[in-house]
């Protein structure tokens, strides 16, 4: 029996075999097992067309968007170690993140990443639209993508308030007034005046959608807390779930679209 190389000895250890449940990917069966046996890769198809990885066709924009989303998740979690969402601390903690913490660029990475993600999402949608990849059987996944676009912009909007400076407060004051103008649901919107019984106003600034969004009639501490929870917990959970659906449907709807 020939002396085995070191690499083969490592592959023969129980530790290696318990982690990787298949042989080296040097044949079609094992290469399929690599994808099918890995929780992170199993959303992907086992095989794809060579044209599916053509950068000139896909721009890898969906992949880049996901990469930026992961970077934002990591930097966002790191920022949460120093940031307290209260009127007393929020702004000072933002300054401290730059001045008192090593690698004070962490917040800038998060901010630039947020801008980058909005851009890559739009470019991804542009590519999908121009290549006609929204057509059946992929029309459901286009719908999922549109929801993800809206959620991406809601993540940007809710994150906008967290620095708690003048720009943040007044930008959210202006943005929240769009909720005030919602038909029937906002007290300044069309239809709100119709929902009035004599002197009793049914849609007022105390019970409309803007109040629900801000936790008050104007941008105050309850709004800061609500936006913080939405930004750090609620929307990311929804986005993460929909990303899984999105990737899975890419595979089930015939794989990533490619030149015909």
């Amino acid at each position: 029996m020939a002396d085995k190389g070191l690499a083969q000895k490592v592959r023969d250890t129980q530790i290696w075999k318990s982690i990787f449940r298949h042989g080296p990917p040097d044949n079609a069966r094992n290469r399929a097992a690599v994808v099918a046996g890995n929780v992170f890769l199993h959303l992907h198809p086992i095989k794809l067309k060579k044209s599916g990885v053509q950068l000139g066709y896909t721009w890898c924009m969906g992949g880049l968007t996901f990469f930026v989303f992961l970077a934002l998740t990591v930097t966002g979690v790191l920022l949460m170690f120093y940031y307290r969402p209260t009127a007393e601390y929020a702004f000072n903690d933002i300054v401290a993140l730059r001045e008192h913490v090593p690698l004070g660029i962490m917040r800038e990475i998060h901010r630039w990443g947020a801008h980058a993600m909005v851009i890559t999402v739009w470019l991804h949608m542009f590519r999908v639209f121009m290549t006609g990849s929204y057509k059946p059987p992929r029309e459901f996944n286009w719908g999922v993508g549109v929801v993800l676009l809206v959620l991406t912009m809601l993540l940007s909007f809710t994150g906008y308030l967290l620095p708690w400076d003048q720009l943040a407060i007044w930008a959210i004051a202006v943005g929240a007034n769009m909720a005030k103008a919602t038909p029937f649901l906002g007290h300044g919107g069309p239809g709100a005046a119709l929902a009035q019984l004599g002197d009793f106003v049914m849609v007022s600034d105390k019970n409309d959608v803007r109040y629900q969004l801000l936790g008050g009639r104007f941008v105050g501490e309850p709004a800061l807390l609500r936006f913080y929870i939405l930004h750090c917990v609620f929307i990311p959970l929804v986005v993460g779930t929909l990303i899984a659906v999105h990737f899975w449907r890419v595979r089930k709807d015939g794989g990533i679209s490619a030149p015909l």
Binding site: V174, G216, P222
Partner: protein
């Protein structure tokens, strides 16, 4: 074997239906609870009406003492007093009173208003709103922000939109 079957096919499906109806009702109940949950019973925002002192304590011009606490400017002219809302009619920011230029100027998008509240520059589409203002029997000013008077609707001359001094 057959005696273990206590549920026939039809009964099974009716149980299933009851189960799904109950589940849907519970889910809808939970959703509506979550919706109501987002509207607190108590908030810590300023009251919608407040006593603003006696007219004699105001000098002619724009008074900013209630701006931060209640969002109201009390403006006194030769023969009238009125309560102006500090909310810009463009997109809802709070303008600043520039005494030297005798105008309200919104820092967000540059809307300008005279001390009467009438807009004259920038994107604001209509004048600032006025709140109901009245004198109590004891001679104090009562401002009620739940009643709004709008110039473009011809309401600034209505009783309650101003007090005579």
């Amino acid at each position: 074997m057959a005696e273990r079957v206590s549920l026939n096919r039809r009964e099974f499906f009716s149980f299933l239906t009851v189960g799904w109806v109950a589940f849907t009702a519970a889910a809808a109940g939970l959703l509506s609870m979550a919706f109501r949950y987002s509207y607190p019973n108590v908030d810590f925002e300023p009251e919608m009406d407040f006593m603003a002192g006696r007219p004699a304590s105001y000098e002619e011009g724009v008074d900013e003492r209630w701006k931060n606490s209640y969002g109201v400017w009390i403006v006194k002219s030769e023969d009238k007093m009125y309560a102006l809302s500090v909310i810009c009619t463009h997109l809802g920011c709070v303008p600043n009173w520039r005494a030297a230029e005798r105008k309200f100027k919104c820092p967000c998008h540059g809307s300008g208003f005279y001390s009467t509240g009438v807009n004259f520059e920038g994107p604001a589409p209509r004048p600032l709103e006025r709140f109901a203002i009245n004198l109590t029997p004891t001679g104090e000013i009562l401002v009620d922000k739940t009643k709004v008077y709008r110039q473009e609707l011809g309401q600034w001359g209505n009783p309650g939109a101003y007090i005579s001094v």
